[in-house]
Symmetry: C2
Subunit: 224 residues, 2 copies
């Protein structure tokens, strides 16, 4: 069976994608990124999900020597209590400069080194915060770049990034996760950096909307 | 004056580009990459060149958790004594999976965080080892990807990678370096990982050919 790389953040989207692909028996190798994010709590969830799914992973440590994002600089304020509708109309302070381009580039190196043909990326461009590096046209363009800039792209079928959840609503993603046996209590979405979800940041609000629409409670926020 | 990011490896090409841009009074901010390369000696040269040029820099530490290249795995053999003509007809074992995509992605994040408009990249696709991530079509494609996947690309003029040396011969690069006052004795090209240039790896051979054609001795190999 052909190998694939998957990026796992510990959130709902990458968690769902992980369980979905496991069910399809894809031979996965995961990357987890510790970039000194404010919400490093998500790493614990990423590792927990991967251990339960029995997927081997590498943790990559990156400390960006620059600031500029609310996710890597505690001095930059997190947006709070925004309506989900308004989130996708601009790019918020939680955007990390070129983060997903960096992560996907590292995933490309990993895929090439281990002979994987695909990179699975849990990006979503529907119920999201307007990040440009989650949109389909970015992913398509990066696939072209990977084709042109790698040894594998020169010699055989190029590595391809696939983002099966990119056009799904959060409700749909939660439904897929449920069907695939994902334990939502093991995922993490909150940006705030606390031990409990704040319930006010964009990520908490998008998650809450998804569970409300899916019609069942979020075990992460309802458990004691 | 507008800011620009430059990638500096310590080699002839990035050294020449650094001095060329300094002469043009471009406001440079450099990135140096420690990726546990076999020839980490080049980092000493990168830092020496940047100090003399008085260009601020950040050193980024990356340890790829995968192998697959003669530059990051001493068990993989370095090509030796190849003819320069043959080098560009295939991709050698010194290719590091997606390395320059990773470096340029990090440079994109840096450029975006500091408000730089350009990334200067000393790639060369004429006297080179056939690396796909040094070719113009890769650079053009990555520029499109950066435009589509960054906040800056959404809101104003996108960050652009420029590779002014991409179509120059090594002879021409050496001539430009000389005109701009580059001290070639402070640069480093050898891949082998020794304290002196081996004179046999692709990088030493391309360099030697360039100096022969430029018609003056290489201070690095002629000094005691």
């Amino acid at each position: 069976m052909s190998k694939a790389v998957i990026l796992v953040s510990g959130g709902l989207d990458s968690g769902t994608l992980l369980y979905y692909l496991k069910k399809k028996k894809v031979s996965l190798h995961a990357l987890v990124f510790d970039y000194k994010q404010r919400h490093k709590r998500e790493l614990k969830s990423a590792v927990a999900l991967l251990r339960v799914a029995k997927v081997p992973f590498e943790k990559i440590e990156l400390e960006f020597p620059w600031k500029g994002s609310a996710l890597t600089d505690k001095k930059v304020k997190l947006p709070k209590k925004r309506s989900v509708k308004r989130m996708s109309t601009g790019i918020p302070s939680t955007y990390v400069p070129a983060r997903n381009l960096i992560f996907l580039s590292l995933a490309t190196g990993y895929a090439e080194a281990i002979g994987a043909e695909k990179i699975y990326y849990g990006a979503n461009a529907l119920d999201y915060s307007g990040y440009p590096d989650c949109r389909p046209d970015f992913i398509e363009s990066l696939n072209q770049t990977i084709k042109k800039g790698t040894k594998r792209g020169d010699e055989k079928k190029a590595i391809k990034i696939e983002a099966p959840l990119v056009n799904k609503t959060k409700k749909e993603i939660i439904e897929i996760g449920k069907q695939c046996g994902l334990d939502f209590g093991k995922t993490w979405s909150c940006y705030s950096g606390g031990k409990k979800p704040c319930g006010e940041c964009d990520s908490c609000l998008i998650r809450a909307k998804g569970f409300t629409e899916a019609g069942f409670p979020d075990p992460l926020t309802t458990k004691k």
